[in-house]
C-alpha cells in the first residue's frame, strides 16, 4: 500500500481542461524527442493548410522542355518526368493524405473505443461472438479489404474516409476492450453498480475517463498507420488519382528515374517520412507524459 504523505504546500486542486492540455504539451515538449515530434507535426499541418498560397506554380502545369530538370533557382526541388515543379507538388502532396487520415482517425478511435469499452464491461456471449468476428476480420490482410472497396466504389474522399475509419477502428476494439478490462475489475466500478447505475452511466462516468489516456495514445499511432496505408495505396495506384499531387504517387512515378533524377523521389520521401516519424515521436512523448504503457503491435 502506498501512502501519499501531504504537506500543505503540495495541496493542489484539479486543474481545468485547458490548463491540463497546456501542461500536457509542456510535458511532451520537455523531452528532445517529444519537442522534435511536435515540431514536425505542427510544421506539416501548417504547410498542408497554407500551401495553396505558398506555392509558386500550378501543380498541373506540364512542360515538355523541362523534364527531370535538376533543382535550380526557378525550380527549387527540380521538375519531375512531366516537367511539373516538384517543390509545388511536394508542398501540396500531403493535403489529401492528411485531410483524409485526420478525419478518419477520430472516427475510428471513437467507434472502436466505445464498442471495445462496452464489450469489456458486459463480457459474456456478446463479447465472445463479437470478438470471434473481429478475429476473423483481422485474419484478412488489410490491403485486400481496402482494395475491394476502392476498386468497386472509387478513390474519392467519400470512399476513403469511411473505409479507413471502419477498417482501422477494428483493432481499436481490441485495445479498448483490454484497457476496459483492467478498469472494470476495480472496486469503484463495483461501487457504481451497487448504487444501481446502468451500463451507460458506468461507461461514461467510470470507464471512459480512465481509458481515455490509452485511447489517445492509440489514436496517435492509428493516425500514423493510416498515413502509411494511404501512401501505400497511392503508391500502388489505388489512392489519389493523377494529376493530383500525393507523396505516394510521386514516389511511384519517380521510381523508374531514381538513378538519374533522385530529386523527384527524394523530396516526397523526406516529406512523408518526416511526418510519420514526427507522429510517432509525438505518440511516444504523449504516452510517456500520460504514463501509458505503449504496447507495440503490428500495424493492421
Amino acid at each position: 500500500m502506498t501512502t501519499t504523505i501531504l504537506t500543505p504546500a503540495t495541496v493542489a486542486t484539479k486543474p481545468g481542461a485547458l490548463q491540463r492540455l497546456a501542461q500536457l504539451l509542456r510535458d511532451m515538449a520537455s523531452r528532445p524527442s517529444g519537442a522534435v515530434g511536435l515540431f514536425l507535426v505542427l510544421l506539416h499541418l501548417l504547410v498542408a493548410i497554407l500551401s495553396p498560397w505558398l506555392v509558386p506554380y500550378d501543380y498541373k502545369t506540364i512542360s515538355a522542355t523541362l523534364i527531370l530538370a535538376p533543382p535550380d533557382a526557378l525550380h527549387w526541388f527540380g521538375t519531375d518526368q512531366l516537367g511539373r515543379d516538384v517543390f509545388t507538388r511536394t508542398l501540396l502532396g500531403g493535403r489529401e493524405a492528411i485531410l483524409v487520415t485526420l478525419v478518419a482517425t477520430p472516427i475510428a478511435v471513437t467507434w472502436g473505443g466505445l464498442l471495445g469499452i462496452y464489450l469489456g464491461l458486459v463480457g459474456g456471449r456478446i463479447d465472445n461472438v463479437v470478438m470471434r468476428i473481429v478475429d476473423a476480420f483481422l485474419a484478412l490482410p488489410w490491403i485486400l479489404k481496402m482494395l475491394l472497396l476502392i476498386v468497386t466504389f472509387g478513390t474519392g474522399i467519400e470512399v476513403l474516409i469511411p473505409t479507413l475509419a471502419t477498417f482501422y477502428g477494428i483493432p481499436v476494439i481490441r485495445i479498448a476492450r483490454a484497457a476496459a478490462h483492467n478498469v472494470v475489475a476495480r472496486d469503484f466500478v463495483l461501487a457504481s453498480r451497487a448504487r444501481g447505475h446502468g451500463k451507460f452511466t458506468i461507461i461514461s462516468r467510470e470507464l471512459l475517463p480512465n481509458v481515455l489516456d490509452a485511447l489517445m495514445v492509440e489514436g496517435a499511432m492509428r493516425w500514423s498507420w493510416m498515413l502509411l496505408a494511404f501512401s501505400s495505396l497511392s503508391f500502388l495506384g489505388f489512392g489519389v488519382a493523377p494529376p493530383n499531387p500525393d507523396w505516394g504517387l510521386m514516389i511511384a512515378d519517380a521510381r523508374t528515374f531514381l538513378a538519374i533524377a533522385p530529386w523527384a523521389g527524394l523530396y516526397p520521401i523526406v516529406a512523408l517520412s518526416s511526418l510519420i516519424i514526427g507522429i510517432n515521436l509525438t505518440a511516444d512523448a504523449l504516452a510517456k507524459a500520460l504514463g501509458v504503457d505503449r504496447a507495440q503491435k503490428a500495424p493492421i
Binding site: D135, A136, A139, V151, F235, A252, N280, K297, P299
Partner: protein, 319 residues
C-alpha cells in the same frame, strides 16, 4: 491439457469458417459479379441471364457458398475468369514464392530481433540501446515502399551490387530467385525485425524489474546465470505472440514489396485479381491467406501453452 488444445483447434476452425463467410458475403455485397466482370458493357438482358446460368450464379447464395466451401476444403477453387487456368495451379506457384520470401525474411530477421532486443534491454538507456531502439523506430515508421525505393537506389542504381527488380517467372524453381530475392527480403525483414525487437526489449525490461529477479539477485545468483535461467524464459514467452502477429502482418505487407520489386508472389496476384474483378480468384486468395494467418496464430497459442507452466495448471484445474 488435451482439452485445451482441442478447444483451440476448434476455435481455429470456427475462425476460418467465419472468415470464409465474411469473404463470401463481402464479395456478394459488392455490386457486380463474375458475369458483369467478364461481359462488362454487354452485361445486361438475356446475355447476362445466360451467363449467370452457365456459371451457376443464379442459384441462391447459401447453395453457392456451400459449393464453394466444399470445393475449397478440397483445394478446388474453380477457374480464373481472366486466364482460364485452374485457380489452384495459378495460386500454387505464387504461394510457393511468397512463402520463400517470408521464410527467408524470418530466418534473417528473427535471430537479429531477439539478439538485439535482449542486448538493448540489458544495456538499457546506454549507447547500444539508444542506437538500436532508434534504428528500430525508423524501420517501423518509414513505409516499406520508401525503404525499398531507397535501397534499390543505393544498391542497384548507384552501387550496382544487386538487381533492383525480379525478372524470374512465377513457376521457376526456388534456387533461381537468388540473388534477386535479397533486396526484397531485406526490406521485409527490416519492418518485422523492428517490431519483434521492440517487444522483446520491453518484455525483458519488465522481467528485469520483477520481484523474482530481484529475489534471485538477493539470493546471490550470478549475473549470467540469472539472465539465462530466470530472465529469458519469462521474457521470451510473450514474444511468441508478437512473432505470430508480425508473421500474420507479413501476409498483408508483402503486397507492396512484391509490387515494388515485381516479385511474382501471392500479393501481386491478389492486386491484379482485384483490379480485374476476378472474383473467384480473389476469394481463393483471401481464404488461403486468412487460413495461414489462423494457423500461425494457433501455433503461437499452442506454443505458449506448452511453454508457460502457469497456463497449463490453470487450465487443468478448470478441466
Amino acid at each position: 491439457m488435451l482439452r485445451m488444445v482441442l478447444q483451440r483447434l476448434m476455435l481455429g476452425v470456427v475462425t476460418v469458417a467465419l472468415v470464409s463467410l465474411i469473404i463470401f458475403a463481402g464479395v456478394e455485397l459488392l455490386p457486380g459479379d463474375a458475369c458483369t466482370a467478364v461481359l462488362q458493357r454487354d452485361a445486361h438482358g438475356q446475355r447476362l441471364i445466360n451467363c449467370r446460368k452457365e456459371l451457376g450464379l443464379d442459384r441462391p447464395a447459401y447453395v453457392r457458398y456451400a459449393g464453394w466451401a466444399a470445393g475449397a476444403v478440397r483445394g478446388e477453387f474453380g477457374v480464373s475468369a481472366n486466364s482460364d487456368t485452374r485457380i489452384s495451379e495459378l495460386v500454387g506457384d505464387r504461394v510457393k514464392n511468397s512463402l520463400l520470401l517470408g521464410i527467408c525474411a524470418l530466418a534473417a530477421g528473427l535471430p537479429l530481433a531477439f539478439l538485439f532486443g535482449i542486448l538493448a534491454a540489458l544495456k538499457r538507456d546506454k549507447a547500444l540501446d539508444l542506437v538500436v531502439s532508434g534504428l528500430a523506430i525508423s524501420a517501423m515508421t518509414i513505409p516499406e515502399f520508401v525503404s525499398a525505393t531507397m535501397l534499390i537506389l543505393v544498391f542497384s542504381g548507384w552501387l550496382g551490387w544487386l538487381p533492383g527488380i525480379v525478372l524470374t517467372s512465377a513457376n521457376a524453381p526456388v534456387a533461381k530467385f537468388f540473388p534477386e530475392i535479397i533486396l526484397p527480403v531485406v526490406v521485409l525483414s527490416m519492418v518485422m525485425t523492428a517490431h519483434i525487437l521492440r517487444t522483446v526489449r520491453s518484455s525483458m525490461i519488465e522481467v528485469l524489474d520483477s520481484d523474482y529477479v530481484r529475489m534471485a539477485t538477493l539470493k546471490g545468483v550470478p549475473y549470467r546465470s540469472m539472465i539465462l535461467r530466470h530472465v529469458l524464459p519469462n521474457a521470451l514467452l510473450p514474444a511468441i505472440n508478437v512473432v505470430a502477429l508480425t508473421v500474420a502482418w507479413l501476409l498483408g505487407g508483402v503486397v507492396v514489396i512484391e509490387t515494388v520489386f515485381n516479385y511474382p508472389g501471392l500479393g501481386r496476384l491478389m492486386v491484379s485479381a482485384i483490379s480485374d474483378r476476378d472474383l473467384a480468384l480473389v476469394q481463393a486468395i483471401a481464404l488461403i491467406v486468412a487460413s495461414v494467418y489462423v494457423v500461425v496464430n494457433l501455433t503461437a497459442d499452442l506454443l505458449t501453452l506448452v511453454a508457460n507452466p502457469r497456463l497449463r495448471t490453470a487450465m487443468a484445474r478448470h478441466a
